[in-house]
Structure formats: structure tokens, C-alpha cells
């Protein structure tokens, strides 16, 4: 999604102000002339200045005045589905990988995504299972990463 540079600038500015305000809560350290707050405050000031320059520059320029430009892919349901699936798949892994298990999440995500990307089911399903097992073997057996079993705990090998 492309948004107008003045809005990008405004976003940066608001974020910078919030950042600066947050650093006001950082303590002073006796004997430390710099303290934990100086560096983040300089970052906040820099970010804020970038925001202001972006706002001023884009308002002065004669370019597009559209606040939001909806990208072409938003109108193609398959592409939106694929985008959401990637985000949702990673979100589910972040929240529930331990409860569901890698060998449940990975093949499901793979099959779903491949089907949305128009891979035929008879190819998508074996590839999803094969790739998940291969990645699991490399990381779990080969590199000793404790990928969670989740629902498949009883059948762990």
C-alpha cells in the first residue's frame, strides 16, 4: 500500500513524539553523563525532523495529491488471499506453534498457500508433506532444534 509522503511524514512525526515522551520515563544514572535516554532521544529528534521534512516537501511539490493509492493486487481476490495467508500463517505460528506443533502448522500453511497460488492439489499435498518432513528432519534431527510437536506429541519420533 502506497500512502502519500505527507502521511508517511506525519506517521514518523507522531511516532517520534511518542518515542521522545516514552524516554522521559528513563532514569538518570549517577556518574553517567549520557544515561540511557540520550541515544533514543536523538533518534526521536532525527525521526521527527525527517517526518517534518517529508511533510513540508511533499506539500510543496506538485506531485499526486492522493492520500492512499490502492495497489492493483488489492482487487485480485487470489492475491489478497495469498497475502493474508502469509501473514496469518506466521501469526498463527507465533501464537500457537507450541500448541499445534510444527508438523501440523507447516504442511497446512504450505498446502493452503500453494492452492491459493494455483498449484494443483495432487502436487501441492505431497510437496507440502515432503517439504515439512524434510525441514523438520534437517532442523529437529540434524541441528537439534526442539521444534514443538503440539497435537502430535503422542506420536513424536
Amino acid at each position: 500500500m502506497k500512502i502519500h509522503d505527507s502521511l508517511n511524514g506525519a506517521l514518523l512525526l507522531v511516532f517520534a513524539i511518542a518515542l521522545y515522551w516514552h524516554t522521559l520515563g528513563f532514569p538518570e544514572i549517577p556518574g553517567d553523563p549520557v544515561g540511557p535516554s540520550l541515544f533514543p532521544r536523538l533518534i526521536a529528534i532525527g525521526m521527527g525532523l525527517c517526518g517534518i521534512v517529508l511533510i513540508v516537501r511533499s506539500l510543496l511539490s506538485r506531485g499526486s495529491r492522493r492520500w492512499f493509492e490502492t495497489p492493483g493486487w488489492i482487487r485480485v481476490p487470489g492475491l489478497v488471499g495469498a497475502f493474508l495467508l502469509v501473514v496469518l500463517g506466521l501469526l498463527v505460528s507465533y501464537l500457537f506453534l507450541d500448541r499445534l506443533g510444527f508438523l501440523v502448522v507447516a504442511p497446512s500453511l504450505l498446502v493452503a498457500l500453494m492452492l491459493v497460488l494455483r498449484v494443483r492439489a495432487r502436487l501441492a499435498i505431497p510437496v507440502a508433506i515432503g517439504a515439512s518432513l524434510l525441514i523438520h528432519t534437517i532442523f529437529y534431527k540434524g541441528l537439534g532444534v526442539p521444534l514443538p510437536w503440539g497435537l502430535l506429541e503422542a506420536w513424536a519420533w
Binding site: F26, I43, M47, P71, V86, S93, L109, I135
Partner: protein
């Protein structure tokens, strides 16, 4: 001498050789697939290299990236789609040569001059790095502070099209580096009582998000066009190459030299080197009118430049711990996680590791000749791998890779957040490379600044009072003033006399 022998022993170990061979094939494959970049190849390699000792880990990254930068030329010449951004500069030229029936000549030139550029850059790296390291031993926190700041400044002021957006990206990276307790005051910043953030944002999941998840998002939101190969059978790849070497020796050397130099500048990598070299080649050519019509001169020069930039980027990375491009930023992140801190000390304490890296560079560039021919000849087969199958698999690999670093799901969330951020930034013209440079160097910048100010007892002028620090400081300030100076100069020229 003893350390050189040790370095050879480190590299010619069956395990390391196997890693180099596998990374070479992996790099060639990733580079040759349109939409997969050399930076992405590195980011995907990192979770695996995390489990290796330092030397094979660096060897894997060096080999894979060198191969990927070359093999990015193949789809450029045959499909008119650059395999990596580093091949974009001369993609149209290469394709035009293919249309003229010179596919072998242009692919061979890509290969041969990649090797020449790579070896040239490596020779500069091997000669310059130890000398610079010797010099850098005298550096104190003041010099390092300025050096890091200069590096970050170059990344924004020289390497970005839009300085303000580049700066904003850099501040995001610096902010990321300030998360956690690892600051001079050991105060937990921006952790929001989350134990996972106490140690800071883990760099590897962040890199995988920035460079791999964002690519997957870009792929799934684009309409896939059918890939039509302009030619799928090839004669001898090396035929006519010697004639090109004899005809364009100056171009090859100039491209390699400029590429190494640009690579060594922090923030600017192989892609900028290729664009600049192509422009330089056209400017100094005796036949500039032939550029764009299928003329090998620009391909020779910029093909050498992008590979030499890879080696150049390792000069500041090894000597000062300041990455020359996104790829070395990722590599430095890996070395940090292994508690191996690049810098001049490493040349004294572990010279065998440094020599081993040099040997890998030579080996990777030499290996490129036979494997490159193989990659060209089998390109039709490579393209049979469906990207619709590959991309979901890459996504799952990213997920596991992010999880594997600390064995925590939290890092999958970090990866997703940075993947979305990079996707959004790219759509809005914010460069991503400064984010990673800021995140890798932010801690160093703050530490050197704090230590310096404590040493100077709060006296700011001390930052300019040592000769080298003062010079670096003045150069940094001059680079800051550069855009304003250029704008004033342009305005003064516009005023009618």
C-alpha cells in the same frame, strides 16, 4: 606463515569443502531464479550457518553470494528479468545481445568478467585489509565513533536516492538496536516487560523478515508472468571471451576497481556498483552510441564491478566491523552471535580465520567458472522449479529459521513484523538496507560515544582533537553538508548571468 598453513587446513577440511560446494550450488540456484536476491540467499542461509563454526559459516555466505551475483545475469540475458538487483544495470543490454544470437557470448562475458572482478576485489581485500587493520590498531573509541558514524552517513547520503527516507530508515534501525538492556547504562529500554526483549531484538529473525519474508509477500502480491526463455540450448560459453578480454582490458580493470571501492563504502553494494560502472563505461566508451543495442562493453565493465563489490564490502567489515553492504551486515550479525567480533584485533589474535576467509574468496571465484557453465547449460531445468511451490517452502523455512535461533516463537513474531515493515517501506520508497546497518551498528555507535564522552569528561571538543578522529569527524560533517552544497551549486548555475 604458520597461520596461513592453518588457514589452508581450515578450508581444505572435507566438511568445509562440502559446505562451500553446497553453498555454491545453492547460490547459483537462488540468483538464477527471478525474484530471489543474493541478500535473500544470505538471509536464508543464516539460520543454517548459525549452527556451524565461524569459518564454514562465513565460507557459506561468501560462496553463495558470489555465485548468486553471477547467476543473476542468466535470467537477465535469457528472460530480460534480472535475477538479482545487481544484474539490473545491464539486463536490457544482455537481452539485446541474446536477441542478436550472442547468448553464449554475453553469458560467457557475465561469467568470465564476474570471475575477473571477484578475483580483483579479493586481491585488494587481501592486500588492503591487513594494512588497514595494522593502522586501525591505533584507533580509540573516538576514531571508532566517527568511523561508525561515517559509515552510517555514507549509507544514507551516498547510497540512497532519497536522503530523508534513507535517514528515516536508518533511525528505525538505530531504534531497533537500542531495545533491551545491552546499553551502557544497562537500563531496559523499550522492552515493555517482555522477557524476550531484554536481550534486544534478535538480529537474525529481523534480517530474515526484512529480506526474505518481504520477498515472499512481494511475490504473492504480484501477478506471475509466464517466463519465456529466449534461448535454451547453448554452444561453447567460453568462445570469444579471450577476444573480449583483449579488447576491453581497461574496462574490466576500471569496473573491478570502481566496484571494489563502492563495495567498500558502507551501505553501497553490488547493485549500485553495477549501475555506476555501466554509466562510467558508456561515458568513456569510444562507441557510446552502441550501448543499449546489444554491445558487450558495458556488460564487461559492470559485470566485473558487481562481483568485485562483494569482496570490497568485506574490507570495512573485517577491519572495523562496519559492514559494506546488506550482505556483510548479515554476516557480521552472524559473527556477533558467535561472539567473534570483527575488528583489527582479529587480525592479531585469529589471523588464520582471516586468511581462511581470503582463501574462500579465491576458491569461490575459481569454482564459479565450471559451476557457472553448468548453471547456464541447465537453466531450462532450473526454471522448471515452480515459484508457486518454492515460495511457500521458503516461507516455512524462514519460520523455522527464526524459531531456531533462540528456540522461541517470539522470534517468529519479530520476523513477521519486520517482513511487513520492509514490504510497506519498499512500496513507499524507503530503502531497507539502512535499517539493517543501523540495527547492527547502533550498539557500537552508542557504546563508543558513551565511552568517549566519559573519557573526555564531558568535553565535546575532544571528539575533534585527535588527528585521525578529527579528520574522520570533518569528513563526516562534510558528507552531511554534501546534499545542501549540491543544491546550492545547482541553484547558482540556474541563475542567469
Amino acid at each position: 606463515m604458520e597461520s596461513i598453513a592453518q588457514a589452508f587446513a581450515l578450508i581444505f577440511d572435507p566438511y568445509v569443502l562440502m559446505v562451500i560446494g553446497a553453498s555454491a550450488i545453492y547460490g547459483l540456484f537462488v540468483g538464477a531464479i527471478p525474484g530471489l536476491t543474493a541478500t535473500m540467499a544470505t538471509a536464508l542461509l543464516v539460520p543454517i550457518t548459525f549452527f556451524m563454526p565461524a569459518v564454514p559459516a562465513v565460507a557459506a555466505i561468501v560462496t553463495a553470494t558470489a555465485m548468486a551475483i553471477f547467476s543473476g545475469d542468466i535470467p537477465g540475458a535469457l528472460l530480460r528479468i534480472p535475477g538479482t538487483p545487481a544484474s539490473a544495470a545491464y539486463c536490457d543490454e544482455a537481452y539485446a545481445m541474446t536477441r542478436k544470437g550472442q547468448a553464449e557470448l554475453v553469458l560467457g562475458a557475465g561469467l568470465v568478467f564476474s570471475v575477473i572482478g571477484g578475483i580483483f576485489g579479493t586481491i585488494v581485500l587481501v592486500t588492503a585489509a591487513p594494512m588497514l587493520a595494522d593502522f586501525a590498531l591505533q584507533f580509540s573509541t573516538f576514531e571508532y565513533f566517527w568511523l561508525v558514524l561515517l559509515g552510517l552517513t555514507c549509507a544514507v547520503f551516498i547510497a540512497s536516492d532519497n536522503v530523508v527516507k534513507g535517514l528515516a530508515s536508518l533511525f528505525i534501525g538505530l531504534l531497533v538496536s537500542s531495545v533491551g538492556m545491552e546499553n551502557p547504562a544497562a537500563h531496559p529500554r523499550f522492552t515493555f516487560d517482555t522477557p524476550d526483549l531484554m536481550g534486544g531484538v534478535t538480529l537474525i529473525p529481523m534480517m530474515v523478515g526484512l529480506f526474505a519474508v518481504s520477498e515472499v509477500l512481494r511475490y504473492v502480491t504480484s501477478v506471475e508472468k509466464p517466463l519465456n526463455l529466449a534461448q535454451d540450448r547453448f554452444g561453447s560459453i567460453f568462445k570469444g571471451q579471450w577476444a573480449l578480454v583483449k579488447k576491453y582490458p581497461v574496462q574490466a580493470l576500471r569496473g573491478s576497481g570502481l566496484g571494489t571501492l563502492i563495495g567498500a563504502l558502507p551501505g553501497a553494494g553490488a547493485d549500485i556498483a553495477a549501475w555506476m560502472s555501466y554509466a562510467v563505461s558508456k561515458k568513456f566508451s569510444r562507441e557510446p552510441e552502441k550501448f543499449g543495442t546489444g554491445h558487450p562493453e558495458g556488460v564487461v565493465e559492470s559485470g566485473a564491478a558487481n562481483n568485485s563489490a562483494l569482496s570490497g564490502a568485506w574490507i570495512p567489515a573485517l577491519v572495523f566491523g562496519i559492514p559494506g553492504d546488506s550482505i556483510t551486515a548479515i554476516a557480521i550479525g552472524v559473527l556477533y552471535m558467535k561472539n567473534m567480533f570483527p575488528g583489527p584485533q582479529i587480525f592479531l589474535e585469529n589471523p588464520q580465520n582471516i586468511y581462511a576467509v581470503f582463501i574462500v574468496f579465491f576458491l569461490a571465484n575459481l569454482l564459479m567458472l565450471p559451476l557457472g557453465v553448468l548453471a547456464i547449460k541447465s537453466y531450462k531445468q532450473v526454471l522448471r522449479v515452480s515459484r508457486a511451490v518454492l515460495m511457500p517452502a521458503i516461507l516455512v523455512f524462514c519460520m523455522v529459521g527464526a524459531f531456531a535461533i533462540n528456540n522461541t516463537q517470539f522470534d517468529i513474531g519479530i520476523m513477521l513484523a519486520f517482513g511487513l515493515l520492509a514490504f510497506f517501506m519498499e512500496k513507499n520508497g524507503f530503502p531497507v538496507a539502512p535499517v539493517i546497518l543501523g540495527a547492527v551498528l547502533g550498539g557500537m555507535l552508542e557504546r563508543h560515544f558513551t565511552n568517549s564522552i566519559i573519557k573526555a569528561d564531558g568535553d565535546w571538543t575532544t571528539f575533534f582533537s585527535r588527528p585521525i578522529a578529527g579528520t574522520l569527524g570533518v569528513v563526516t560533517v562534510l558528507v552531511w553538508l554534501l546534499p545542501a552544497g549540491i543544491a546550492l551549486w545547482k541553484r547558482s548555475r540556474r541563475v542567469p548571468q
